[in-house]
């Protein structure tokens, strides 16, 4: 009985010693690894800074940064994220010359799931055109995460030829919010605007928008007009204004006015009906647009809208009246204690008057 207890105790002690040994072993191994990585990071940092300052050649930089690509990518991330222009081009040349692009191109095809995802992100950020075909294949992946990063990578590469194809995937297979859809579309670059314009011109004849994208028309049009607005794409104005009709979807009208606000471009179309729309968002966005262009034609209507029951309609109307009348009209409302004096006072104060 006693020997049984001794053996058990000895077994437990051995087990504890083994666990302690393993903990110490892995701790030391990690520390060694960490020291090695830190020393590489220091070496890489020196090389990178010299390379970015044109103090050493691309070849020399590539020769000094051509191993441990996963760690190297971690090291380069803040620079990839924060540098632009010539310096970003230098980074692109570096990752092409030091074998990193080839390494991640290979991993995009052969690695496990997380490896493929990391590779797709890297290749997108570095705008590696050679990755396009594989990324395109990934659009049909059952793996939602791989599909999503491949969409983002294609947008980052700016593969405009695939914009509509990617858009269809985004709309049908993914769970992107409208804001995310817009953000990713914008990442494709300004050159998608002429393609959208061309599509809208065809659409005017063919009316196939829902058949092509398999989602309600207002979603696509709203997205397109957000993109036009973001890039202030004036050549697309005419295509957009064909939808500035009181019969159009309210959602579309709101996005048109938002785009017009960004474009800051005067249009000839009559806006009276929009200023009297039952939808307060349309009324407010129309007034907001007039606050940008300062069109005196609508002064009487805007004057009336200062007393609108909706705060935003009232605010943008007062702002538009201010822009048109240089504050004199609002001052007159306040001084004569007329309806709308509170909002007039607010807008005047906002403009330090």
């Amino acid at each position: 009985m006693l020997s049984y207890i001794y053996y058990t105790a000895a077994g437990v002690i051995l087990l504890i010693l083994l666990v302690v040994f393993l903990i110490v072993f892995y701790h030391l191994k990690n520390r060694k690894n960490e020291r090695m990585i830190n020393s590489r990071r220091e070496k890489w940092e020196k090389i990178l800074f010299q390379y970015l300052a044109d103090e050493i050649s691309l070849e020399k930089a590539a020769a000094g940064m051509n191993s441990d690509y996963i760690y190297l990518y971690q090291f380069l991330k803040p620079y990839i994220k924060n540098l632009k222009g010539d310096n970003f081009e230098q980074l692109k040349e570096l990752t092409a010359a030091n074998g990193m692009n080839d390494y991640f191109l290979n991993r995009l095809q052969t690695a496990d799931r997380s490896g493929k995802i990391r590779a797709a992100v890297f290749l997108g950020k570095m705008e590696v055109g050679a990755a396009v075909e594989q990324l395109r294949e990934n659009l049909n992946s059952e793996d939602k995460n791989l599909q999503t990063v491949s969409i983002q990578a294609l947008a980052d590469i700016g593969e405009q030829q695939l914009f509509f194809e990617v858009l269809k995937v985004m709309l049908k297979k993914s769970t992107f919010t409208f804001e995310a859809l817009t953000e990713i579309s914008i990442r494709f670059g300004e050159d998608i605007c002429p393609k959208i314009k061309e599509f809208l011109e065809k659409e005017k004849r063919d009316k196939r928008i829902e058949a092509v994208f398999e989602v309600p028309e207002f979603q696509i049009l709203s997205l397109f007009f957000d993109i036009f607005g973001y890039y202030r794409y004036l050549p697309g104005l005419e295509s957009m204004l064909q939808y500035l009709d009181p019969q159009s979807s309210e959602e579309v009208l709101i996005h048109i006015f938002k785009a017009l606000v960004k474009m800051e471009y005067p249009i000839e179309q009559d806006l009276t009906e929009f200023l009297t729309s039952e939808n307060w968002v349309i009324r407010s966005q129309a007034a907001r647009y007039l606050a940008v262009t300062g069109d005196s034609k609508y002064l009487d209507q805007l004057y009336e809208l200062i007393t609108d029951s909706n705060w935003w309609v009232s605010y943008y109307s007062a702002l538009a009246v201010f822009e048109i009348g240089r504050g004199e009209i609002l001052k007159e409302i306040v001084e004569n204690d007329r309806a709308g004096k509170e909002m007039s006072r607010y807008v005047l104060a906002q403009n330090n008057i």
Binding site: L52, P78, Y79, K81, L83
Partner: protein
């Protein structure tokens, strides 16, 4: 000025690789640099040091850049401020300039452009 008669610049940036890159660039231009990574260190550092300019990210931990600009103004600390921030919306830029920032560069950025604008602030 420091003992070597070099202008000293304070960098308030919590992203270490970026502050190191900026420091490298500035030192190449014969400028001294000090780095703080938390917002609440900026004002004490400006008071204790002899800085010619401040390069600052708006999104700093502990105390944000707009609050720091506000304190610089209230405490009459006369120092040119160059904002280098990932905040790129027009309203953020206007807000910072209204609060007393002299220059605003958005990230991603070009270190050469940063250098040019800083030199302008320093009157070189």
């Amino acid at each position: 000025m420091t003992a070597e008669n070099k202008d000293e610049i304070l960098i308030a940036e919590d992203d270490e690789p970026i502050s190191k890159l900026i420091s490298y660039k500035l030192q190449k231009e014969n400028l001294e640099t000090s780095v703080v990574t938390e917002g609440d260190r900026v004002i004490p550092e400006l008071k204790n040091g002899d800085y010619e300019a401040l390069i600052m990210e708006l999104m700093l931990p502990v105390l944000d850049g707009i609050s720091i600009l506000n304190r610089i103004k209230k405490q009459d600390l006369e120092i040119p401020v160059l904002i280098l921030s990932a905040k790129s919306q027009e309203k953020d830029i206007i807000k910072a300039l209204n609060q007393g920032a002299d220059e605003y560069i958005t990230k991603p950025f070009r270190p050469d452009e940063l250098m040019l604008r800083l030199k302008r602030l320093l009157g070189d």
